[in-house]
């Protein structure tokens, strides 16, 4: 795109009215042309002033109460940076989490007494939020504990499928008896299926948690290992029916061995499908 064509399009671009192809070509030109860039800034500032010209309609009072209550609740949860995905712990970690959830719910309920009154008709939502909030708080506590532990370690898991874009890393700390998986580009599963995490050692495979990644394929899955009273040799992720299975029904979706030798080489490639006789 040349300067002349760019200048013809700048105003429309600033108003958001050019199609994607033209927008892309214009951006490429402006990146290299200071003169057009300055013109674009003028157009942009003019367009931005339009946003101040709107007729005023008073925002409803309940909106203010709702936003303030949520801001306060997020502050109490300490979760302002990001939200954690849904995690359905299996019985192993659920027992521990439920105790924490009960205490947490009481704590938040006292904080929010005033706010709840303002949230007309939202009480069921609030009750659900309280439970979710305390679960998330506990999950975040685990993640922070793992990352800040002096024995914090991590390992990349290998994906079984060739050319898979899926990535997963397992972080853990033995001292904190906790770990978490971070995943990226995990394929969205059909309804009725979940990912399930397992610890393995020779002849033994134990479920840890099931999860559904975010729509963008990312996740952070905290795992409580206080009840894992044996030393796992590896960690695997498989695809299972909703609710999870008692043993992996198919091969690994991703797997990493904790074996020192393979970790040093950085491969960790133990597609130990045979480990559970498949």
């Amino acid at each position: 795109m040349k300067c002349e064509e760019t200048k013809d399009l700048l105003d429309a671009y600033a108003l958001g009215a050019v199609d994607q192809d033209d927008a892309y070509r214009l951006e490429r030109h402006v990146a290299d042309c200071l003169e057009c860039w300055e013109e674009l800034n003028k157009s942009r500032r003019t367009a931005a002033l339009l946003s101040l010209s709107v007729p005023i309609h008073p925002a409803p009072d309940h909106l203010r109460r709702r936003i303030m209550a949520r801001a306060q609740m997020e502050e109490a949860r300490g979760e302002r940076r990001h939200l954690l995905p849904r995690v359905r712990p299996t019985w192993r970690s659920a027992v521990g989490a439920m105790g924490v959830a009960a205490v947490g719910a009481l704590f938040f309920a006292s904080l929010l007494q005033v706010q709840v009154a303002g949230l007309r008709g939202d009480k069921n939502d609030i009750a659900q939020e309280l439970t979710a909030a305390s679960t998330q708080l506990e999950q975040q506590r685990q993640i922070v504990a793992v990352l800040s532990a002096s024995d914090s370690e991590k390992i990349s898991m290998d994906s079984a499928a060739l050319r898979s874009q899926a990535e997963s890393v397992y972080n853990w700390s033995r001292d904190s008896a906790a770990g978490f998986i971070v995943c990226n580009n995990f394929p969205v599963l059909p309804p009725g299926q979940v990912y399930q995490v397992w610890f393995t050692t020779t002849g033994r495979v134990e479920p840890v948690a099931t999860f559904v990644p975010h729509a963008d394929g990312g996740c952070q899955i905290p795992m409580d290992m206080t009840r894992v009273d044996w030393r796992p040799g590896g960690i695997g992720i498989s695809i299972e029916p909703e609710g999870g299975s008692s043993s992996p029904s198919r091969g690994w979706f991703a797997y990493a061995s904790f074996d020192e030798g393979s970790r040093r080489q950085g491969t960790g490639l133990h597609f130990a499908v045979s480990a559970f006789g498949q």
């Binding site: 108003l15 958001g16 003019t46 946003s51 007729p55 925002a59 909106l63 303030m68 997020e74």
Partner: protein
């Protein structure tokens, strides 16, 4: 009148940028002060685009909570806080309208119908500073000065989220005419708003 604690009156002396700096300290009173200053304006900007009170409320909630979670997303060097805030609102609202697709009412109503639905009001927002109210009046006056056919296209682009091509189809006008009207209208607007643009640059 809602209760105003002594705490809150102290915040009314802070400018927008100072309130935003307080958000980095997780200061809820500063957040409330910011909402009280601009809640109506943001709601109105969202409503101007989405034309549905419920969706506009969702937009306001999302935008303010985003500011609460990530106050650093506003960079003071790039312009004034209030125009950043209303521009973000406009952009997010246009995305929402687009993602809801063509079945959305706004896409099917004619421009004339749309304008009738939400008649422009001269009502002012008492929460805005005198300076900002004056500026709003200047912008509205500048918009009135430009020919109606140019203003209509500019508003369809900016608030309606339509491309030049879509506007041409909608109004049954040649694409070239739409492009020319956008350019001429924006030139006039820029000329009329030169003092305001300088302020925006600071």
């Amino acid at each position: 009148m809602r209760d105003v604690s002594p705490d809150e009156t102290a915040y009314s002396g802070l400018d927008d940028e100072e309130l935003m700096q307080r958000l980095a300290y997780r200061d809820l009173v500063a957040f409330r002060a910011l909402y009280d200053r601009y809640g109506n304006l943001v709601y109105s900007a969202a409503l101007r685009v989405v034309r549905d009170a419920q969706i506009a409320e969702d937009m306001v909630q999302e935008i303010f909570l985003r500011i609460w979670r990530k106050p650093e997303s506003y960079v003071a060097q790039r312009g004034r806080f209030v125009t950043w805030l209303t521009s973000v609102t406009r952009n997010r609202s246009v995305d929402e309208v687009r993602s809801r697709g063509r079945r959305f009412r706004h896409e099917t109503a004619s421009p004339e119908e749309q304008e009738r639905e939400l008649p422009a009001s001269e009502q002012d927002d008492p929460a805005l500073t005198a300076e900002l109210s004056d500026q709003r009046r200047l912008i509205l006056a500048a918009l009135k000065q430009i020919p109606a056919e140019q203003r209509e296209i500019i508003e369809l682009a900016y608030f309606g989220g339509l491309t030049q091509q879509e506007i041409a189809e909608r109004l049954s006008q040649p694409l070239g005419t739409v492009k020319t009207r956008i350019r001429l209208g924006m030139q006039k607007l820029r000329a009329a708003l030169t003092p305001e643009l300088k302020w925006e640059q600071n």
